[in-house]
């Protein structure tokens, strides 16, 4: 087991390295001089030269990458071109907000998905099943940014129950009513994605488990209800946890659309700003942090899953 853990870790390192490489070089794939974003077009030559040195653009690419990587390992991701603030502090502030949003959405979505999926699997082929499956298809097919707009229209504009934008108040996140009210709509919107996927997964697993001979044997022995539920839960839980864990990562990376709709001050929002302002350091830094979180999450899931479900344990 330890061997598996170490091997998995070793395997994740080159991937993480590759991620840093892609994060760094992605900003340079566009045609055009990156300097154009930083300096105004009519700046005198010596200003351009000094800017070049400041941002290290006078060195060759591999050197720039190495320098950036080394600094990043020390927690220094450079300074944002637009705001001048440290990229690391901006990103870390935003990451917290996105994590809250993603976790809330994942929690709601996974729970709902489990309930719906279990009902659908248990009452297989009944109207409950069809209803839950329909909801699942909707969850996977709906453009969630549109759903966010619709929910805003209904709950914020028409009914005025919930706020339309922002995270509530400025500065740090606190778990008070104001902040939570701001969390409801974005989390609900984002939750449909995991809901759709988990419903389908759970439904299939529950239906499959209930068909197993083990269950028939239990019923034949006169045990029903709870014993069967426990058996089903034990079979389904590892996969749900794995998929759910991956979903959190996916939501963290993919929250940009919902954050844009609700002006949620998270990493997606930050990324949006960075792209449009061509703020290279901010772009690289945000990308790096988000992807490393995703890689770390994948690693955690890969390691925890075989521990929970021996069948999944690979050599």
């Amino acid at each position: 087991m330890l061997g598996y853990l170490l091997r998995r870790l070793l395997y994740a390192l080159p991937i993480a390295l590759g991620v840093t490489l892609v994060s760094f070089t992605l900003v340079y794939i566009a045609p055009g001089d990156p300097l154009n974003a930083i300096a105004p077009a009519d700046a005198p030559a010596d200003v351009i030269e000094s800017l070049k040195v400041t941002y290290g653009l006078d060195r060759p690419m591999p050197v720039r990458y190495a320098l950036w990587l080394v600094r990043a390992l020390h927690g220094d991701l450079g300074a944002s071109i637009a705001s001048g603030r440290s990229v690391a502090s901006e990103v870390m502030g935003a990451v917290g907000n996105t994590m809250i949003l993603a976790s809330a959405a994942a929690a709601v979505g996974v729970t709902l998905g489990c309930v719906l999926g279990a009902l659908a699997g248990y009452f297989s082929r009944s109207w409950i099943d069809r209803f839950a499956s329909a909801l699942s298809v909707v969850g996977v097919s709906v453009p969630h940014y549109w759903l966010g707009l619709v929910l805003t229209i209904v709950f914020s504009i028409r009914l005025d129950w919930l706020p339309a934008m922002g995270a509530g108040g400025s500065g740090e996140w606190t778990w008070d009513e104001e902040h939570l009210r701001h969390l409801v709509l974005p989390a609900a919107t984002l939750a449909v994605i995991p809901m759709g996927i988990i419903t389908r997964t759970v439904r299939a697993l529950v239906a499959e488990t209930l068909n197993q001979e083990f269950v028939v044997a239990l019923r034949a022995r006169g045990l029903g209800g709870f014993a069967i539920f426990r058996h089903v839960a034990r079979n389904v839980a590892p996969t749900v946890l794995a998929v759910g864990g991956l979903q959190v990562g996916y939501l963290m990376g993919g929250s940009i659309l919902v954050e844009t709709v609700f002006a949620w001050p998270g990493t997606g929002f930050l990324l949006n700003t960075a792209i449009f302002q061509r703020d290279i350091p901010l772009l690289q830094g945000t990308l790096l942090v988000l992807c490393l979180i995703f890689v770390a999450l994948n690693l955690v899931v890969d390691v925890v899953q075989p521990w929970l479900d021996p069948r999944m344990a690979r050599a």
């Binding site: 330890l2 061997g3 598996y4 170490l6 091997r7």
Partner: protein, 348 residues
């Protein structure tokens, strides 16, 4: 139109005394990852210095437990896997060597029928297409290939008008094996390797397919290498038998001699394990003790010694070599060798 000129039956080159296939020094090692994270690469000697001959027109059976290397040997001969060492001489010509027989030509002379009849057929090709594929690859025109395929399907008992357009999943296991046989024959090979070809079939179907194989052999002058673990079938079909254990040949001999008076303890044990209708031959104790040892780490000296009831000191020290102890009967055992130093060795 001489459509068959491109795929004419290959001619006999060496004459009747020349063995059809001579295998020598065949070796194949697989590297396997061991346990633990700093995995040492371990070597699995799947085939370890195997040598034998197959005479023209005979059926040589290869028997042994699972994992003894029979299938690997077959695949090495067929060049589906590359051997680490070893030489193949087909009808007097070295295969794959400069000045000898080219691989593509060798492939025409040698065909194989596999155990899994379903996995042997491309599920997307109709039966006729499947059988016609090979001849087409060798230059036959479409029509000619189809015609030959149809004739072959007919010969194996599947009327082409009825079966030609069908797909593998529509047939039973026995029918599929017949298609596989037809496909193998489409090249007019001289040697056919049957790798557990009837093992997956029901007994009654087995009998039909075996009879078909016998007929085809007589009709077309084929030579068979029949790999099996079923000793009763082997007795029915084979002229000579080769026994393998852990990648080595332990005994070769004519079938009746082997079944009547086997020289190697392993062969004796295998034969004892065959259920018999004769109540006098009831076995009580299992003739073979222990599990087959790990092929990665075989015992020193004779590989069979830790399961052999006759094991002695010399067996752990010296590995026995194949000796011809009777005409055309070879065995690799110290018991059989008067000069080996084994206390129970035969006296000449």
């Amino acid at each position: 139109m001489s459509t068959d000129a491109a795929l004419a039956a290959p001619a006999d080159r060496g004459g009747p005394a020349q063995p059809l296939l001579r295998v020598s020094g065949l070796k194949k090692r697989f590297t396997v990852r061991g346990g633990g994270i700093f995995a040492a690469k371990l070597t699995l000697r799947a085939v370890d210095d195997v040598a034998f001959e197959i005479a023209k027109g005979e059926t040589l059976a290869m028997v042994g437990e699972s994992g003894c290397g029979k299938s690997t040997t077959a695949r090495l001969i067929a060049r589906l896997i590359e051997p680490d060492a070893g030489e193949l001489v087909f009808d007097g010509e070295a295969v794959g060597r400069f000045g000898g027989m080219a691989l593509k030509e060798f492939r025409r002379n040698l065909q194989m029928v596999f155990q899994d009849s379903f996995a042997s057929l491309n599920p997307r090709l109709s039966l006729l297409d499947a059988v016609a594929y090979g001849p087409r690859m060798h230059g036959l025109s479409d029509t000619a290939a189809r015609a030959r395929a149809g004739a072959l399907l007919d010969r194996v008992g599947l009327a082409p008008a009825q079966f030609g357009a069908r797909y593998p999943h529509e047939l039973s296991g026995g029918q599929r094996q017949r298609v596989n046989i037809a496909r193998a024959l489409a090249f007019e090979p001289r040697l056919v390797i049957l790798d557990e070809a009837v093992a997956a079939l029901d007994k009654s179907v087995q009998a039909q397919v075996l009879n078909l194989l016998q007929e085809l052999k007589a009709e077309r002058g084929l030579t068979y290498l029949f790999i099996s673990h079923d000793l009763q079938v082997v007795r029915y079909l084979a002229d000579r038998v080769l026994v393998m254990y852990l990648g080595r040949v332990v005994e070769i001999g004519p079938v009746e001699r082997l079944y009547g008076a086997a020289r190697h303890p392993y062969t004796q044990a295998l034969l004892l394990a065959v259920p018999s209708m004769n109540p006098a031959r009831r076995t009580e104790r299992s003739p073979l003790s222990g599990d087959p040892p790990n092929p990665i780490d075989p015992p020193s000296g004779c590989r069979f010694r830790d399961r052999c009831s006759h094991a002695a000191e010399v067996c752990a020290l010296v590995e026995p070599v194949l000796r011809e102890s009777a005409p055309a009967h070879w065995a690799a055992c110290h018991l059989d060798d008067p000069s080996s130093g084994h206390p129970e060795a035969r006296t000449e």
